[in-house]
Structure formats: structure tokens, C-alpha cells
């Protein structure tokens, strides 16, 4: 089936392109919009965006491979990001990450994003989230959580229906 976007996303994309004197500048914002809608960036999406911006697919694909936030495969329904970097590590983020992984049956030593078998959760160890004063921190989808204990993490995961 040919790739297509719904009318409201199409309108959002048109608006985004109008923010820049050169169309290509809109590519990151469009990738965000497309990923928010579909959950990931497929090859068809790359080609569609490239055509929309009058670029070659490689011009868009190289962004997807460069910027860590863009995904080339679907993620779980809820995406959990735990901060890995120094201040959070001093505040126990490795223990937090280990706890979250164990609870969800994931490998705490695996690299990159991993998803549970039921597709409900993805967990990722990420770099400094700019909230080092309230370590350890984690994001669940777009929500930000500070000073996360194991109990608080359980509560956050439990609230994800």
C-alpha cells in the first residue's frame, strides 16, 4: 500500500515548511511529526518526506541514522528513557535502569532501545537529560520524572495502561 499521511498531518507539515526560507530545513521537524504519528520512520516515510522536500531519500535517511531520537523500527507502546550520564550515575541511575529492565524482563546490559515481547514497553539508556540536580531522572513517553526510586518507577510503569 502506498504511504500516505492523514490530512491534519499534511497540514502540519505544510505549516512547518513555511517556517523556513529553505524547505530542507524543515526535515527534522517533519521527521518528529511523522514519528509522533506512526511511532517510527519507515523507508516509505523517508521517501515520502524526501519527495515532499524535493530531496533525495539519502538526504532524509542520513538524518534518521544520525539523530538518536529517530527510530527505524517500531517501539513499544510506552518508551522509557533512563539517564545514563555522570550526575545521574552518581545518584543511582544504573540501579534504576537495572531495576526497570529486570521488572520488564529486558537485558540491562544490551545497547540501544529494547522492547518487551508484548510490545508494551521500550527501554533505553540515554545521555544527560538536563535535570542532573534531581538525579536519577527518567522520561516515560513525553513525561519527565525526577528523583526516581525503584518504588516510584514501579508506580510510573504501573500507570501505563
Amino acid at each position: 500500500m502506498a504511504f500516505s499521511v492523514p490530512a491534519n498531518l499534511e497540514a502540519e507539515i505544510t505549516e512547518l515548511i513555511s517556517h523556513y526560507p529553505q524547505k530542507r530545513s524543515a526535515s527534522l521537524m517533519i521527521l518528529h511529526a511523522v514519528q509522533e504519528h506512526f511511532g517510527w520512520i519507515s523507508q516509505e516515510a523517508v521517501e515520502w518526506i524526501a519527495a515532499r522536500l524535493e530531496l533525495q531519500p539519502i538526504n532524509v535517511y542520513e538524518l534518521v541514522t544520525f539523530y538518536p531520537m529517530f527510530r527505524r523500527e517500531p517501539a513499544g507502546k510506552h518508551v522509557v528513557k533512563v539517564c545514563r550520564t555522570l550526575s545521574c550515575a552518581l545518584g543511582g541511575s544504573h540501579e534504576l535502569h537495572g531495576h526497570v529492565c529486570q521488572k520488564l524482563g529486558l537485558d540491562a546490559h544490551a545497547h540501544g532501545l529494547q522492547t518487551t515481547a508484548d510490545g508494551k514497553f521500550s527501554v533505553e539508556f540515554v545521555e544527560c537529560l538536563a535535570s542532573c540536580g534531581t538525579a536519577p531522572v527518567m522520561m516515560c513517553n513525553e513525561d519527565f520524572h525526577q528523583a526516581v526510586t525503584a518504588a516510584k518507577a514501579d508506580e510510573i510503569l504501573g500507570k501505563c495502561a
Binding site: S25, E62, M69, L86, S87, G91
Partner: protein, 467 residues
């Protein structure tokens, strides 16, 4: 005991203070913009007429404001480099990428007082004849981006933004652009590439100085969130008044992020240089936890060279007779400003202190930072791409019980071969400084770790004791 001096964060944490425009206006918001737009042209004795924008630029120079993003470069001087004769449009970009580990000050401003930054940005754009500007915000701040978009819409509705702002004839548009998780987008030329829709590969300088060949090869100003807020206050109180805050050559206030092993981590706004590192740790951040001793302090974000507890520095100070006198200063007694920290061989960088007490495994701490840099190198320059990865791999090995006694020298050798003009951008320095300083200052610990691991392996033990 030194006190916080809240200029930029004056209202942010007040109960009931909200990020909407009505609240901002009730607290005197956009008065500085009105003042800026109303500045009358001045005629000099030689008949030359100086317009409002140029007067503001002069005032920013007079204020002594130095950039709060990392390099501490004079804001007035940066603005004076802008090529105003090319006939090309001039762009301004607010750097809200805040990704230097340890730093969490811009987030406070963006979330709690977005209009203050927007007002500072509009004034800065007016002062530099900018008609189109962007806020580059890191991708992991989705809430921040929403707050900014809402605030920009409110400002547009009140005609602080858009066409013919407050009847002045000045037009300006500002858009929010989101990054997507790459630290190198904070480096200004990487940021510009990213805003052009490309990989954030920093550009080589010369020739690509943003002030001359920036966004779309046009003159471009990149300023940090906090720097732009300071501009609002400079226009509000006047550059000369602003220059009275802080200390000579280190004027104004600074929001210092304190994290790590302290009882009250958090952000503290001080007059620059009016508190020492020791006061920031003990008086503001509540000191170390019960029974703990200080081991090390990273004074300006993860890229800044580490200070070891007890380290002493010889600093030059002006005596009462105006002559330089040399003084020995303990690390904790260094005034928190740009110049003192530079004189002590490090930097105040992004204004972020990371405190480590004596429970810290210094090898593991450096391994953590090196993994960050190995992950974030953009990969254009061989010394940076390979060097950051080698250092990270060696440190990972050491942190997991597979050290060798020559690892300390091996690490220093790699680190010494990355910076110093061998790379396109300052990330080369940023990734080698932690290694040079950690290994340089805690060498005995690194060597001892390697020796212990070797002895254990020689004895036939396979399980490392500390992995």
C-alpha cells in the same frame, strides 16, 4: 554567608508564577522591549546619527556580558563581528540545546519564564536588524517546545512579535526548531547545519564563522538562553548598572547548576564571582552527606577539567597599589567566575558543578564521561572519532576489572593527541580534557587499579573484584 542574587530567576519559583503572558506582563514583562523600541536616534558631535539598534549594541558591550553557553565570549564583541555590509539577511538563533552533562539551568527558564527569554531575544534581534530568528531546543524537551510555541503565539497576539511590532515599523518572526538527541547540535556550527536540515557536522573555521557565513551562508548570531535573558535586563537597567553586578570582567549574574554528591543539589543564581566553589558546595548546596569527604569537583560542565580536593593554585590578584600580587588559593576558595577558573586551568563553561565525594570510583566516573563523548562524537575528524572511542573502550575495560598498569599512560597519550587544532570543533578538547585531568590528577588510582587487576589475573583469578 553569600546570598543568592536572583535577577533572571527573580520570579520563576514564586508561588503562583505561571509561564503565560498575563503573568509575565503583571511582573513588568515586555517593558524593556517597549523601552528598546522607543530609544530615540542620537546625533554625535560629528553629525553622525546613531540609531536605537546601535545604541543597544553599545550598551551590551558596556555591560561586559559574557556568553553563558560555554565559552564565556563577550556578547558585545560577538555582535560586533556580524557582517552588516553583505546585504544578506542576518539571522539570530537561540541555543536552547542544553546538553552539556551537569547543566540544567536553561530548562528552568524555558519552563518557568519563557517570555523573559523571548523578550530578550526580540530585543537582541531588534538590536541586530534580524527579521527571522529560531529557537533551537533539544529534542528531549517536548514540553519546553510546547511552552515556547504557546508563548510565541501569545506574544504574536499582543504584537510583540510579527509585523510592525508595537507600531515601531520593525518586523520579526521567531520559530521553534527541535533537535533530536545529538549533543553536537549544541556546538554553534553543528547547530546551524542541523537547522539547515542536515547532519549536525560542525563547520570548519575559518571560513565558516557564523557572524559572517552562518545559517544559509548568511551572517548569524548564536546565543545561549541565559545570555539572551541577560540582554533584557541590560536594556531594562542600563549596561552600566548591569556591569556593577558581579566582579570586574565577570559581570552580571549566573545560574549555577550543582549536582552530584551534595545534600541540596539544585540551581543557584549568584553574582558572578561573588561566591566561591566552596560556598556553592557548602552554603548553597548544603555540603556533603554525613561522614563524607570531598574528592573532586568538575567546575563547568562535564567537559571542564576536574579539580581535585586540596588542589592549590597560584593566582594573580591586583593589590591595593594596583600591582599584581601572587596568591596561593585552595580550590574551594576560587571565586566562581570566568577568569579565576581559567587561571586555575579549567573553566566555568556552562556553569555546572558536579561534586564527587570519597565514595566515588574515579575510574568508573571517567569511564562514564568517556562513554558519553564516544557516543556523541559526530565522527568527522579521525582523532576525535577514534580517540574518543579508544578512551572509552580502555576505561570500560578498566572499570570492569580488566585494567593494565600502562593504561594511565595509554589514556594520556590518546587524549594528548586529539586537541590542539587537530579537529574541526572544540568537541576534540571537550572529550580529552576530562581524561587528561582525571588521569593526570588521580594517576596513582588509575595505576593502582591496573596493577591490582594484573596481579589478580596473574594469580589466576578470573572474576574481577569490582565489576
Amino acid at each position: 554567608m553569600p546570598q543568592e542574587f536572583r535577577l533572571i530567576l527573580k520570579y520563576a519559583d514564586e508561588p503562583g508564577y505561571t509561564p503565560d503572558i498575563e503573568c509575565y506582563l503583571r511582573h513588568g514583562g515586555y517593558e524593556s522591549l517597549r523601552k528598546a523600541l522607543a530609544i530615540a536616534p542620537k546625533t554625535l558631535p560629528d553629525g553622525k546619527v546613531v540609531g536605537a539598534p546601535e545604541q543597544i549594541r553599545d550598551d551590551v558591550k558596556l555591560s561586559g556580558l559574557r556568553g553563558r553557553g560555554g565559552a564565556g565570549f563577550s556578547c558585545g564583541l560577538k555582535w560586533s563581528f556580524v557582517d552588516r555590509r553583505s546585504g544578506k539577511p542576518i539571522y539570530l538563533i537561540c541555543n536552547a540545546d542544553e546538553s552539556e552533562p551537569g547543566t540544567f539551568k536553561d530548562r528552568q527558564i524555558l519552563h518557568k519564564d519563557p517570555h523573559q527569554m523571548i523578550e530578550g531575544m526580540i530585543i537582541s534581534c531588534f538590536a541586530n536588524d534580524v527579521k527571522l530568528a529560531y529557537i533551537y531546543i533539544r529534542g528531549e524537551f517536548p514540553e519546553g517546545a510546547r511552552i515556547l510555541n504557546r508563548a510565541l503565539n501569545e506574544a504574536r497576539a499582543k504584537n510583540f512579535l510579527g509585523k510592525n511590532i508595537l507600531g515601531s515599523g520593525y518586523d520579526l518572526e521567531i520559530h521553534v526548531h527541535r533537535g533530536a538527541g545529538a549533543y553536537i547540535c549544541g556546538e554553534e556550527t553543528g547547530l546551524i547545519e542541523s537547522l539547515e536540515g542536515k547532519r549536525a557536522y560542525p563547520r570548519i573555521k575559518p571560513p565558516y564563522f557564523p557572524a559572517i557565513l552562518g545559517l544559509y551562508q548568511c551572517p548569524t548570531i548564536v546565543n545561549n538562553v541565559e545570555t539572551l535573558c541577560a540582554v533584557k535586563h541590560i536594556v531594562g537597567m542600563g549596561g552600566a548598572e548591569f556591569a556593577k553586578l558581579g566582579t570586574p570582567n565577570n559581570t552580571g549574574t549566573r545560574i549555577v547548576s550543582v549536582s552530584g554528591h551534595v545534600r541540596k543539589p539544585g540551581y543557584y543564581e549568584i553574582e558572578v564571582g561573588k561566591a566561591t566553589i566552596g560556598q556553592l558546595i557548602n552554603d548553597f548546596a548544603g555540603g556533603l552527606r554525613e561522614g563524607r569527604k570531598l574528592k573532586a569537583v568538575i567546575p563547568g560542565g562535564s567537559s571542564a577539567k576536574v579539580f581535585k580536593a586540596g588542589e592549590k593554585f597560584k593566582l594573580k590578584k591586583k593589590g591595593p597599589d594596583g600591582k599584581d600580587i601572587e596568591q596561593e588559593v585552595d580550590m574551594l576558595d576560587l571565586p566562581y567566575d570566568f577568569d579565576s577558573l581559567m587561571a586555575a586551568g579549567s573553566m566555568s563553561g556552562s556553569g555546572a558543578l558536579i561534586i564527587m565525594d570519597d565514595s566515588t570510583d574515579i575510574v568508573a566516573a571517567l569511564a562514564n564521561l568517556s562513554e558519553f563523548y564516544a557516543h556523541e562524537s559526530c565522527g568527522q575528524c579521525t582523532p576525535c572519532r577514534e580517540g574518543s572511542l579508544w578512551m572509552s573502550k580502555a576505561l570500560h575495560r578498566m572499570a570492569h576489572g580488566e585494567g593494565r598498569k600502562q593504561d594511565a599512560d595509554y589514556l594520556l597519550k590518546i587524549a594528548d593527541n586529539i586537541p590542539g587544532g587537530r579537529t574541526i570543533c572544540a568537541f576534540g578538547e571537550a572529550c580529552s580534557w576530562p581524561v587528561q585531568s582525571f588521569v593526570g590528577k588521580f594517576k596513582d588510582e588509575f595505576v593502582a587499579r591496573g596493577e591490582a587487576d594484573e596481579a589478580r589475573r596473574a594469580a589466576g583469578a578470573t572474576r574481577p573484584s569490582h565489576s
